[in-house]
Amino acid sequence: MTESSHSLRTFVAYVEDRPGVLNRIASLFRRRNYNIVSLNVGRTHEAGISRMTFQMEADDDMARRIEANLYKMVHVLSVEDITNTQSVIRDLALIKVRVGPERRAEVLQILSVFRAHAVDLGTETLTVEITGKQEKIDGLVATLRPFGIVEMVQTGTVAMTRGNQGAAARAAHTEDASGIAAA
C-alpha cells in the first residue's frame, strides 16, 4: 500500500438547497471519521443550488473516498477536489479591537498594511473586517492582540478556481441528462 501523507485538502461541492442537506453531509463526515477543518455553505446565483467549500486533512486515497462518498448522497450534485487547482481561497473575519480615540490612528495604520478596514466604531472599540487567506488573518490578529481583542468571528473558507474555467463540477450539474432511470 502506498502511504501518502495527510495534507490540507479543499473541496467544492454543489448541493440541492433543501432542509437537512447540511446535516446529511455533516453526518457522513462524522460517521466516516473525517475531520472538518472548515466548512462554508451558501446560495449560488442559481435558485435551489447551494455551494459548499470544505477543507479537511486527508491523504490521496482518503480524499478520493471523501469525494466518492459525497457523490453517493442523493442531494449532492457534484464534488471537486480543487486542492491542486490554481484557486482564489478566502476567509472573512470581523475583529472587535479595544482601542480608544488616542490610539485609533495607530490601529488604522496597521489595517492599511493588511488591506483590512474599519467597519464600525465605538467609543472604546473598533471593528475590523479582513478577507484573505488564513495566514493573513492570523497575522493581523497577532498584531492587534496587544491592543486587546474583545471578540472575533470568522467565516469558513470559500474557494474558486482561477481562470476561465468554472469548477468542472458546474458543468456536471447543469447537464440535464444525468440521473434519469426507469421507474
Partner: protein, 588 residues
Amino acid sequence: MEDAAKKLETQPQTTPKTLTGSEILWDTLVNQGVEVVFGYPGGAIMPAYDAMIKYPVRHVLVRHEQGAAHMADGYARASGKVGVCIATSGPGATNLVTGLANAMLDSIPMVAITGQVASGLLGSDAFQETDITGVSLPITKHNIMVTRPEEICQALKEAFYIASSGRPGPVVVDITKDAQQKSCEYVYDPSPVRLPGYRPDYHPIDKDIARAIDLIHSAERPVLFCGHGVIQSNATQELLELVEKTQIPVACTLLGLGGFPATHKRALGMMGMHGEAWVNRAIQEADLLIAVGMRFDDRVTGNLKTYAPGAKKIHIELDPAEINKNVHVDLPLVGDARQILQQILPHVKSCKIQPWLDYIEDLKGETAVIEIQHLPDHGKLYAAHVIHDLWRYTDGKALVVTDVGQHQMWEAQYYKHDHPRKLVTSGGLGTMGFALPAAIGAKFACPDDDVWVIAGDGGFQMTAAELTTCAQEGIKVNVAIINNGYLGMVRQWQQFFYGGRYVATPMKSPDFVKLADAHGLLGLRVTERAQVKAAVERARAHEGSVVIDFRVEQEDAVYPMVPAGADLHDMIRRPQSHNPIYETGEDE
C-alpha cells in the same frame, strides 16, 4: 416494476381522481409491483392501514417491527425485488432500526414506510414522535420525509428507484399522519424518476478492461473472489463462463455463497475468518486476485499488512467509495459486475495454471482429513453433522436462512449452495434474531421453496415471537435450532481468547418442542445423529411450520479460525488428538 409499467401502458390512467394520501400510498405501491408488506399498525399509520384493504397487497402482521424489517430484507434477498415494511411513528419506527442497519451493511433493496405525527406537531415531542429520518440517516441509503399528500407518490417512486439501483440499500419514507389523511388530485405518473444528483451507473474504460485481461493471462496463481455483488447483479452465469474458460479457482465471501456453484470442481469454498484452510492459504500465495462484487471486509482479510502479499489485485465493484478502502488494489474496475464480466469474457483464453490447481488440490488433501465431517464419531450429535445431513436430505436445494454465530459458519462450510439467492444470512451487521423473520420474508418471495431456518438457541430466542406470525399467517418454514446451551460463538472466543471464562454465555432455553406445540406447530427433538434424517424428512412432509430442537455437543468450536486481526494464514485448527468423532450416517 417492469411488469407494473407494462400494465400501465395498456391501461393508462389519465383522469385525475381525488384520493387521500393513504390511497395514493397504496396505489403507488401497487404500481411499483408490491404484492406483500410486513408491518405493524399504530396511531400515526392508522389512516394508511385503513385504506389498505382496498388494494391488492398482502399484509403480514409481525410480532415486533424488527421482524417486519428482517422479513422485508429476507424477501428482497430471496427475490431480488424491493422488500417493503411498514410501521407507526415513535417506537414502531425505532424498532425498525436494527433491520435497517442490517439491510444497509448488506446492501439490501428495501423500503420502510413509517407513520409520523401530524405535521403541525413536528418538533413538539408529541406522543410517539421520534425523529426517524434523523435516527435512520447513517443507516439508510437515503430517507425522505413527507408532509403533504401531493408528495407521497413521488417520494415512494424515488425510494424504490434509489433502493434498487446502483449499490442497493434501505430507504425510509416517513409520512405524517395529516399527509395520509388529506386528499389531493392524483394520477399515477409512470415516467422515470429524475434525480440530478444521483448517478449510480459507472462504467470502466476499455483500456482498463484490456489491462484486466492482460493480468489474467499473465497470472500463474490466480484466484477469483465471488462476492455478494455477483448475486445482486445477476452475474452468476457470466462468472461461471469465466471460470469454465480460464479454469481459475473461485473463493466466496459469506454473502457470495451460491454465486458460484459450490459443487463445481473449481469452487474452493468460503474465505476469511472461518474459511477453509486451503482457501486462505491459496489467497496468501496467489499472484492475482480478481475480486468481484465484494468489499474486503476485515472478516475476509485478517491483518491487512500481510494480506495476499504477492498478489496483484483487480477489484470489480459498483461503489467507487469501496475502492482502496481496506485493500489497495492495482486495477479497480468500477461498474456493474455483470456488465464488466460480459466485457471481459469474449477476450479471455484458457489460463495455463495446472501446477497451481494441482498445488491447491494438495492443500485440500492435506487439510480436508481433519474436517469434522470426515472424522469418526462417538455417537454424539455435532452441529456440522446436522448441517451436512440437512444438505444431503434436502438434496442441497433448500432455501436456507441462517442466524448469526457458530451455526452460521458451519452452514457456510457444510451446506453446499449451487444456486444464488438460496442462502440468506446477515453478513455485515451480524444480527442475531435475523433468521426466523427473514425466512418468513423469503418464503413469501419463493413460496414453492423448501425454506429452512438454521439458528442457534440464542439467536432464535431473540425473535422467537415470529413463530406466532408463522402460525397466524399459515406460513410453512422449517426451523432447525442448533441448541448447544451456550451463546456458542462468544463461548468459543472465551475459550480461545479469554482464558476459558464463560461469562454470560451459558444459556437456558424454553422447551422448544413445547414452544412449537403452544403455537399449534410441530416440534421435534433430535439428540443423536441417527435421528437426523427422519426428523428432516418428517419436517419436509409436514404441512405447517416445524421446529426441530437439535441438541448438539455443547462445547464444539468452529474451525479453522483466523483470530480477529491475525494474518490470514495464521489459523487455529481443529485439534486432532481429542474430540474423537465417529461417522455414523452413510456418506456418499
